[in-house]
């Protein structure tokens, strides 16, 4: 071997050693167990790939190619470590057994599972409409001048702006309990935002709706088997009902925003109202239709009862809108029943209390019946499902 060849071999060995050190440093980003299992193997693969990538080319070209190869490999190692660590963290969160409370009554448990899918979806729709996203989309399609995107976010908007998409994301990642806590934090955040002077106020039906919806989502996510079970229960017609409900909420908000706007809602020179009396009646008719469809099965009846808790304040919004459409006046002067904190929050709280009392009484009755059957037969006592 010539002196030059020997020198090249030594230089190549030193370069490989430097590279190996660099790869090993990057491998330190991987979890310990993964490192123990695969580190040596990965170094071998990286060096083998590097050896194969060596090409006979002028020095600057070869150097540039090797630099590119090392940079890409290093970025890929970092990406791999992040993927593995992310997956491990996700699995750990999914397997956590904290807050493992569930409702024992099968039908209520199933209803809560369905609500754990529907409520976060409605919360996201509510947030989107609150920040005028559908309005902006509608504006870009129709060219309507009064539907602009709300560009400024105040402190009071933060709970919904962060909470609604956050809860939906956690539900999508199947992190039920964390999503439940997120929904609870969204509700608490909105209540705390009441202290901000610019806040619309608790007496606003839309605020009451989102606060109560966040609470309902939190209860459903924390006390039910979760969205997986809910999705399994949602039939095609059930999904259609959910979609219709979400669309109505979105459409209602779009119409409501037009109506709440200071200038009369008109399309260019046509002068037609976007959301007038026919729209009000259509909203009411579809909502009644959705409710009637839900009355057919025991689980969907319970879903309806649970969702009625946050939707009650919307009835106030609707009657205000109806009054304005009928009398053509501004909102505050025309409401048949003006919104107030007791009117907005007491009926939902009453309904929630009724649900709780009803289930408690049903459980007691079932327990009593079981005891009677048990003493009559003197056999082993059957488990009480309620």
């Amino acid at each position: 071997m010539s002196v030059t060849a020997t020198r090249n071999t030594r230089a190549g060995g030193r370069a490989r050693s430097r590279m190996e050190k660099r790869y090993r440093r990057l491998l330190a980003l991987y979890p310990k167990d993964h490192r123990r299992e695969h580190a040596e193997e990965m170094v071998g693969v990286l060096l083998a790939a590097d050896g194969d990538a060596q090409v006979r080319a002028p020095k600057p070209v070869a150097w540039a190619r090797r630099f590119g190869q090392h940079t890409a490999d290093s970025a890929d190692l970092i990406g791999g470590a992040l993927r593995i660590r992310g997956r491990m963290a996700l699995n750990r969160l999914r397997q956590t057994r904290w807050l493992s409370l569930t409702v024992r009554d099968q039908r209520w448990s199933d209803a809560l599972a369905v609500v754990s899918v529907v409520a976060p979806l409605l919360l996201l729709v509510a947030a989107l409409t609150e920040f005028r996203i559908p309005q902006a989309v509608a504006s870009s399609i129709t060219g309507h001048p009064h539907w602009g995107l709300s560009a400024t976010l105040g402190l009071a908007d933060l709970p919904m702006a962060a909470g609604a998409p956050g809860v939906t994301l956690l539900v999508f990642l199947r992190l039920r309990r964390l999503a439940g806590l997120g929904a609870l934090a969204t509700a608490v955040g909105q209540i705390a935002a009441g202290a901000v002077p610019a806040f619309a106020g608790y007496a606003d039906p839309a605020v009451a709706f989102t606060v109560l919806l966040s609470c309902t989502a939190a209860v459903a996510l924390l006390l039910s088997p979760g969205p997986d079970r809910g999705l399994a229960l949602l039939t095609r017609s059930g999904a259609a009902l959910v979609g219709t409900g979400a669309l109505i909420l979105g459409g209602f908000s779009v119409g409501g925003d037009v109506w709440f706007g200071s200038e009369p809602p008109r399309f260019g020179g046509s002068g037609g109202k976007v959301a007038g009396l026919p729209a009000d009646l259509l909203i009411a008719a579809v909502l009644v239709g959705v409710a009637a469809a839900c009355l057919r099965a025991p689980v969907s009846r319970r879903v309806l009862a649970l969702l009625a808790v946050p939707v009650i304040p919307y009835a106030f919004l609707w009657q205000e809108k109806l009054a304005a459409d009928l009398f053509g006046q501004a909102r505050d002067g025309s409401a048949i029943i003006p919104s107030s904190i007791p009117l907005l929050y007491l009926p939902p709280l009453l309904l929630a209390s009724l649900i709780l009392t009803g289930t408690w009484l049903a459980r007691r009755r079932a327990g009593g019946r079981n005891r009677q059957v048990g003493s009559a037969t003197s056999g082993p006592r059957s488990p009480v499902s309620a």
Partner: protein, 105 residues
């Protein structure tokens, strides 16, 4: 199923292979279009092992370095076969709509 996963399972369908073997095989199967790097390959193998689609096979030392072989499991074979059927059905529909005779694309 994502393309790298599909290609890794395809590479292993022919028999057990070590990491570098999988990388070169995937490049060959995809006609050089997909070039897996070590980080992506081992993240994918980690996931496939956790899902029970791939398992570790024999180990050997070559040039002082560890080589671990991986092989596809029965579950992995079934999953790959299902994916092949799905892709074939989609390709047949696409070919017929494009008016390609015999589905030759």
């Amino acid at each position: 199923m994502q393309e790298p996963t599909f290609l890794i399972l395809t590479a292993l369908a022919a028999g057990a292979q070590h990491g570098y073997g999988i990388m070169t095989d995937v490049a060959r199967i995809s006609d050089g279009r997909v070039r897996l790097r070590a980080g992506t390959l081992y993240a994918a193998l980690d996931r496939l092992k956790a899902d029970g689609l791939v398992t570790g096979d024999k180990e050997e030392i070559v040039d002082g370095r560890l080589r671990r072989y991986y092989r596809i499991t029965d579950e992995g074979t079934a999953e790959l076969a299902a994916e092949v059927r799905r892709l074939r059905a989609n390709a047949a529909v696409a070919a017929s709509r494009l008016g390609l005779a015999g589905g030759a694309v």
